[in-house]
Symmetry: D2
Subunit: 296 residues, 4 copies
């Protein structure tokens, strides 16, 4: 199928490449011309504008950094909604606030286009390996229609309900993750400082009620899990600044929804402190340094 | 074997009873005479004093509410250390601060007694059913020596390292649990308020990185898990005031160890607020009410 | 002088009226026609549009609820910048984020207009009585030029530096105020619960290092200060929802400036909790109820 | 008058010396013999034990580091209560928890001794210069009886109500102070990072509702107040570790009184973090470094 892919950065490029590998005719656009050129070398047909990119497309996929970019690309002058062919189906894989996602979806619907929001988790490694998780908001039928396309780029496809719910699921999951990582950091630091072996303590917690993904799969204490970023200097993984971005979206959504999130808000400020101290590029599990004072 | 059991309250009585059922000769004492009488009806030989209780015992087990009680029972005038027969082995199953546990263990060792700290999780239901988890601090050989006795009262026996480490494991696990429950509450409340079905959201989180024991086994949102206290009005389970007690121990230990626990401390204050609002007897997962304003 | 006044709500109307009382020819506009009519009855010449309102004006003053309103009124189609006569001077008294204020001021400057941001404190009572405090950002000369006009509406005129600094001063002051009120609430609640007379405790604090505006001028404990909202059921004063709005601006500014504000963020969530519990219209000092559980 | 002074450390020695200077016959004791010797060189008659120290005393004053020391010195074996002459009056100037102060006062009363708790603020400089503030709990008559003696050591004598209330006043004041200093740090950091001159911002706040002792008398930003520790590298003043001790007392008291102190608890953890990072000896206003990441 003809797929227009807009946003060819660290995530977008490998996603577009996986679509091309799966046999789709992918045309790409980015406001940064160098990214379009790089994509061209990877077999993505270059387009000089959104209009050119979506011309003749059956699917339009976007992967953009924030709500203003998404609004501009879809609803701005010269955007997708102005130029997409009748009947084209839309997927936005950007992580943005749910309200913005719903607005854009409503605009698309008003013009007769089916649109789903489909933010991902799995990072650049997941994008390269086509093992992303897609959290999808939109009509069940539209989710089904997109299944094959998404399956070319990811492994887990989860339908989360109506438009915007893909965003809701992602930011609420990451809110819990951000707090859970701090909980694990405090627990590990305290147990260790009180004389326990970190591996022994993690082993006990992981079969008990303190267990969480941050303790059993992604432990922030160096040496507890060989596969975790903590055991390789907090490189790779999911960067502190990306977590900070998602916590910002959660805070905005909570403000709009009038839900007090005391722990989430504390987490947001601690990741901010960590980023401001120069650790924004480290994996987010390095937040344990904010408890111990240094890398433990 | 001859077992002296000191502390015959909600937890101690069923534990002593399970020892008796397993064929041990259990003598019991409590500073509240009525509890000794009740125990006597359950087949525990009543003793009028610690001295009488431990006379001739091969094992002494205590299950007491706090550090001062533990210090008094073991090291106070008329206490176990004064009266226990040479060679008797000691188990303290109270949840107290690790430093106090280590002090008492050192005093016992100085008199030639092997002692382990063995706090439990599992609540009164686990005590009744002999399915408690014991987190044990002390020498590996002493842990092994106690294995059969502990197995009469519980199911999971975990050796956590040297003296006091049973306490460390318990309070650090519960610190993580307390925060994780708040994280889950905020995530569930925000996702639901933003329009997601709570069961659908929980399902997604539980296969993703926001997963924790509080989300997949003990979810605080009514109706998500039929087996959780949330689905029966937050009755039963692990009371808010018990969690608050353990958070107090964690806070004390963190202060002594000079570890800043920002999230743990926030959790402590929120459970305090919840208790002060009159909900101390509800299961601790009712902390979700502090996020939603009411039972959701 | 001819003054165009845009935004005739609870604050704008009395401010415009005070300008008229001082002898200025005031023309008013609001997107809500009923507010224009009400203003007309108070001697403000009604205008049907921004274009009509600013036609011939020497000064344009805006008093609007948020950044999007301010951007639209000034820089949107049919806005002030399109229609204001050459040489007209601009004052924005809305409380908005400093970055937005700087953007609008730069657009005004690009068209040759002097503009100051001049958010106020003092509430509707101060607006009625012409006793507002104006915190002004912009060139010193432009501040001096506006002095007479501002003095018709307020009592304290403070120059805070370059464009946007009026907003910075206001939101940072209110950030400190919001936290200080919670500090005072916790101190008063704890001292009282520990057995001190609240007036005696307040008297000691107010001559000691715990002293702050919230303790000595606006004490949240009923009966300590007869003049404070706490002594009249938290009516009047500065509403919780207004404080919440300013904390939102502070949080946004802190995020943009990459400054971690742990206490400010906790305050924001507590005021959110208070508002969500139904107390948004009460004076913000009623936040003490979040410490005591009820009105003390 | 004959005064027994127990506890001759950094605070106790200059206090005892000021009593001697005022013409009292002061006998001193400390469990550290070297401190007794040093005091002897300053004109304090050395005593080898509490018994010897209080023998014949009309007044007994203690200045000790914590509750266990206070309990031991007064109520322990060989303590003041065992040995003080009938009719001797008691003053405890240690900063301890109010409950402990009340217990000791009750024990003294049971033996017929009038006792007041009289913790101080003003630090070692105030102790040297006899300018301390005394916050006094106890009967009004006992406060009056002690007035002359206290006036030899301090300048402000404040009666706070019944026994223990001196402690309550001190720790609740310092709780408010600790939070207020963080509020000021966040406000100063944010305003400065957003482009304001720190002195200009402080000037505005100090005439507005964000004003507090930390902003107008002890500003944490270097250069704002020449007299503040911030302008001399955070040396001198009131050390972070002393503030941390008082926050610990406040946390304990809040736990006992079942008052949730969310902001106080956050403050406690931030000062802990600051101390653990190696800044425990700096003035507590250096907490601003926890906001800015470094000394600003």
């Amino acid at each position: 199928m003809g797929v227009a892919f807009i946003g060819l950065g660290h995530m977008g490029l490998p996603m577009a490449r996986n679509l091309a590998k799966a046999g789709h005719a992918v045309t790409g656009f980015d406001i940064v011309p160098a990214l379009v050129e790089r994509a061209a070398q990877a077999g993505i047909a270059p387009a000089p504008s959104i209009a050119a990119c979506v011309s003749g497309a059956e699917w339009v996929v976007t992967m953009l950094p924030s709500s203003p970019h998404v609004r501009a690309a879809w609803a701005g002058p010269g955007g997708v909604l102005e130029h997409a062919p009748a009947g084209a189906r839309f997927i936005d894989s950007s992580t943005i606030d749910p309200m913005a996602a719903r607005e854009v979806a409503a605009l698309a619907a008003a013009r007769g286009h089916a649109m789903i929001d489909a933010p991902v988790s799995g990072g650049t490694a997941g994008a390269e390996a086509a093992t992303l998780t897609f959290m999808v908001g939109g009509d069940a039928a539209d989710f089904e229609a997109a299944r094959a396309l998404l399956a070319s780029m990811g492994k887990n496809l989860v339908h989360c309900g109506a438009a915007g719910n893909g965003q809701v699921a992602k930011i609420c999951n990451n809110l819990m993750l951000a707090i859970g990582m701090i909980a694990t950091s405090e627990g590990m630091a305290l147990a260790t400082r009180l004389g326990m072996d970190p591996k022994v303590f993690a082993g006990i917690v992981n079969t008990s009620s303190g267990r969480c993904w941050s303790s059993d799969t992604y432990n922030p204490w160096p040496g507890v899990l060989d596969s975790a970023p903590a055991s390789r200097g907090y490189t790779g993984g999911f960067g502190t600044d990306l977590m900070l971005k998602d916590l910002g979206l959660a805070a905005d959504a909570a403000r709009a929804a009038k839900v007090p999130i005391l722990a989430g808000s504390l987490a947001q400020q601690l990741y901010q402190r960590h980023s401001s101290a120069g650790h924004g590029a480290l994996d987010f599990s390095s937040i344990v340094m904010q408890v111990t004072g240094t890398a433990p």
